[in-house]
Homo-oligomer: 425 residues x 3
Amino acid sequence: MANVTAQQAMEAANEAAFLTNNLWILVATVLVFIMHLGFATLESGFVQRKNTVNILFKNAMIIAIGLLTYCLIGFNLMYPGADFAGKFFGFGGFGLNPSEADLTSAYGDYTYWSDFIFQGMFAATAATIVSGAVAERIKLESFLIFATILVAISYPITGMWKWGGGWLDAMGFYDFAGSTLVHAMGGAAALAAAIVLGPRLGKYTPSGIKPIPGHNMPLAAVGVFLLWFGWFGFNGGSVLSADAANVSLVFVTTALAAAAGAVGAFIASYLLFKSHDLSMVLNGILGGLVGITAGADQMGPMSAVLIGLVAGVIIPFSVVFFDRIKVDDPVGATSVHLVCGIWGTLAVGIFGKMAGMGQFINQLIGTLAVCVFTFAFSFGLMYLLKVTIGIRVSEEEEIKGLDIAEHGASAYQNVENAAFAANIQ
Amino acid sequence: MANVTAQQAMEAANEAAFLTNNLWILVATVLVFIMHLGFATLESGFVQRKNTVNILFKNAMIIAIGLLTYCLIGFNLMYPGADFAGKFFGFGGFGLNPSEADLTSAYGDYTYWSDFIFQGMFAATAATIVSGAVAERIKLESFLIFATILVAISYPITGMWKWGGGWLDAMGFYDFAGSTLVHAMGGAAALAAAIVLGPRLGKYTPSGIKPIPGHNMPLAAVGVFLLWFGWFGFNGGSVLSADAANVSLVFVTTALAAAAGAVGAFIASYLLFKSHDLSMVLNGILGGLVGITAGADQMGPMSAVLIGLVAGVIIPFSVVFFDRIKVDDPVGATSVHLVCGIWGTLAVGIFGKMAGMGQFINQLIGTLAVCVFTFAFSFGLMYLLKVTIGIRVSEEEEIKGLDIAEHGASAYQNVENAAFAANIQ
Amino acid sequence: MANVTAQQAMEAANEAAFLTNNLWILVATVLVFIMHLGFATLESGFVQRKNTVNILFKNAMIIAIGLLTYCLIGFNLMYPGADFAGKFFGFGGFGLNPSEADLTSAYGDYTYWSDFIFQGMFAATAATIVSGAVAERIKLESFLIFATILVAISYPITGMWKWGGGWLDAMGFYDFAGSTLVHAMGGAAALAAAIVLGPRLGKYTPSGIKPIPGHNMPLAAVGVFLLWFGWFGFNGGSVLSADAANVSLVFVTTALAAAAGAVGAFIASYLLFKSHDLSMVLNGILGGLVGITAGADQMGPMSAVLIGLVAGVIIPFSVVFFDRIKVDDPVGATSVHLVCGIWGTLAVGIFGKMAGMGQFINQLIGTLAVCVFTFAFSFGLMYLLKVTIGIRVSEEEEIKGLDIAEHGASAYQNVENAAFAANIQ
């Protein structure tokens, strides 16, 4: 090592920084992965006992199908690269084919594989958001087909518009980690699907709206904490390097917005319902997280608190609103992801570094474009499934529960036994 | 890059190390965050079914309020910095206002934001420890007010005494990651609150002490594993850099103390109760973790095993002791955090690098000072709440359960239905 | 810093890379740790309600005992180092005694402590795999003795054959992260133990095989997601550095194999049983993960998908097979870990960088040698326990459930109350 040059030392230092940057993307990937468990437990907790196996099954299949289709087609739709012809649609070919250089710092602050796996974890999220909104009455096969096509085609196309260098990016639209591209997009798909599908039996009756409470609140709470946990990777990883100032700022804004979302929902739901509603506070946390996602790197702590607070206040009003218009969303996914996603996107035009009327209008155009496209795509696809293979289980199956009807199984075998034993003694 | 100087290469190498050090603080932050889910599930599992929504609600609100108050006031009380007048109390002003340099390696091994968010995750812990001890009978609003003031005022003041450069630090007191400053502190607040509040109805009867077992052991076990998981960040992050030798040593001592705590509680509870008590083993793990926290960087594996083993043995005896003096603590928080916290702090004077009578006395003074201050603060605050807005739910509400009484909800909707169905067939 | 030399800058750059490499091993350690929660919840979910406390108790004790015995003896059996006499067995002495240099980059890409704690987290896995297969009828003490000896003696000996530089390593056998050394090994022990122990009462009756479904599917799903989460550390950490190209490739192959495992099990179980079986899909994910573990750094995404798909298809057939030969394994551990572990090991000879008949035969010899040794060791040990202290609870205890029989406790206190209340109204 006697003849080391400054040049060589600099290269070694750059390699060391590359190691760290790449490592952070991978750690963030792991954190985003566990959000899928967060969604699975949140949705399980919020549905009825008799549909628990079904929702777990769907969530396990979604992450599997999502990763495989993103590998096969989605990644190259979203980042078409050199084969990119046009600002609305491009395709880089099937499968993953990195060059040798793609696996070094020549690719950027991380490798091609890191890029794919981090983005792949995001992709499945959109379908997961839908699964909550259509829970307790959709046919399993129809849902899986819908989810596969949504993740394979719709998500990467609108994602490309901004993150793949498409027309929204060129226009100046800003969406740091996906308030619009992931959350409002998933929420718009959820809304379309819930409308085509119709409400659960007995939800909206002539005598009023019947609450159908979730069957397991600890499970729902576990889900929200895991989502918050994973969101540090979702937002923190979206810096796309381990840059100390940016990642640490993103951690602070993300955490404070979530905290303020809880407080906002706590206050608003107390004013609205005169009770301390756990499900509202849990969804308030998620609303705050969705809200800050578009601009987590764009503002200081005070703005993050405001964005989260507003998102939290929105939650109970939005939940009531969708119930009034008879859109039945068992877990509140539309309120959390669509409404707070739009709010967070617009908030970048109010609180972000380039805040102003011009930026606000860019934000508005961007979020509307993505939501309208996704809504139309999802509505059409769901309608097509409805008139072909059917999308809704029979009344009898819905009453019996999807666990028995679709899986021939029960989520908690022995409680029935306990109740049964109590009965026969 | 042809004219790179050695100086420039050295700066790049230092920046690369800074990236890694800062990244570790952020990853540790995420790990400490998930401890709040650990507390939420542990406490939920250990309370009765009818108080589950209530404890989840409190734990969700505590992390939210904790982060917000620490942002507003706590961080600058704990680290008053240049505005620091005196060794007992100082205040650096409201809110977070870093300079440009604070976001670079000029601030230290990590940024100002990383510093805040890592410390903020610690702060809410104190209040969470209390929530377990006062579970199943405290009024929600009173608890939230108590928790807010505890996190905003009491925790940062005693924290400053050591970590903010106050009088305990000057005296030579050592508390690596908070056996005293976090755990014994939270445990002392829990003890004071439990005393003022009084035991649950029917716990201590003329005919003896009635066990009130927790309603969901898997949930409690999930909590303990998550706490252990997060503790690698709690202790490992307290190195305040990614220093390889120190962080890896801390991982080993932390893991071995937890393991030994399980074994100690296994043996002691078998000798005491002639049964294999899961809740004791779970609390033994936590006792071992609390015990090693003060000196995790100060000793080798053998000492860590001894500290954990003693902590584990302490647990069942301490639980029995508090029941004998009729302090009702549904989750054993006082035994785990106060008793094992004091033990771990003193153990630094026995096993640490500066072990000896002088160090032992420093440790004793430090832990007593923090515990006495916190106990007095908490007792006074809780008493004040008792004589003003009241702290305890009515007998009727306690019997009915806080879920229905305070939230109008049930944690597991459908089990009642199953039991009901069994009954009416 | 004016007189910095290029040599000094290079050393600083190397130290920065060392920091990152070591940090990754520690983060991977944390991820592998949480796999123990994954096993605990998976196994809890798959057993009957009446044996839940028991399985949680065993899993909490296994990680504790595993870490302590690996510290005392296992680590130096597996990596005997300079004291290594022979290719089949060596021992480096009791306890952990690193030199000063062992805690610096002189030791390698990470410190001695990091090495120990990462390997220690692996070691306890073997015993955990067994605990699922022998659930619901084994005596607690007998199981703990069996698990302790297995982790202390059997696992490190066969581990040394490859990872400690023993005869399998010399022969050219390849096992990247332990399809054989951890999973098939644990599965072989599980098979031996299940055979000696015999099936649960009422499982195999003259009128056919009685399904005994698990009592809590959400818990089982949580377990599988946590295992997948932790597997990124299990496989990713086995690169033994933060090397960007290798770790990121391992992340991709690991994730895709798991996803394909879900799809394989989905299809195969539908063809076999004409239903959408959640437990099969969950075990399919695990099968895919076990399958890719031997060669996660050896192949591209397409091969990983194929390996996972085959592993997923294997699961339902293997589960049916073991039921046909009346080996009762309540959680399917033998199918997941033994069968898919062997498959993954052989797959390295088909898809790996050195694929070919020679490599395939090496793989076959290696996996058979480890499985046969472990099976014989476990069979003998379990038989010895059977004829001395006994290994099986009484019929009465088995019917009553191990929670009451061995722990005097119930996992879900209040459901009985609810059922009871329903009965007495």
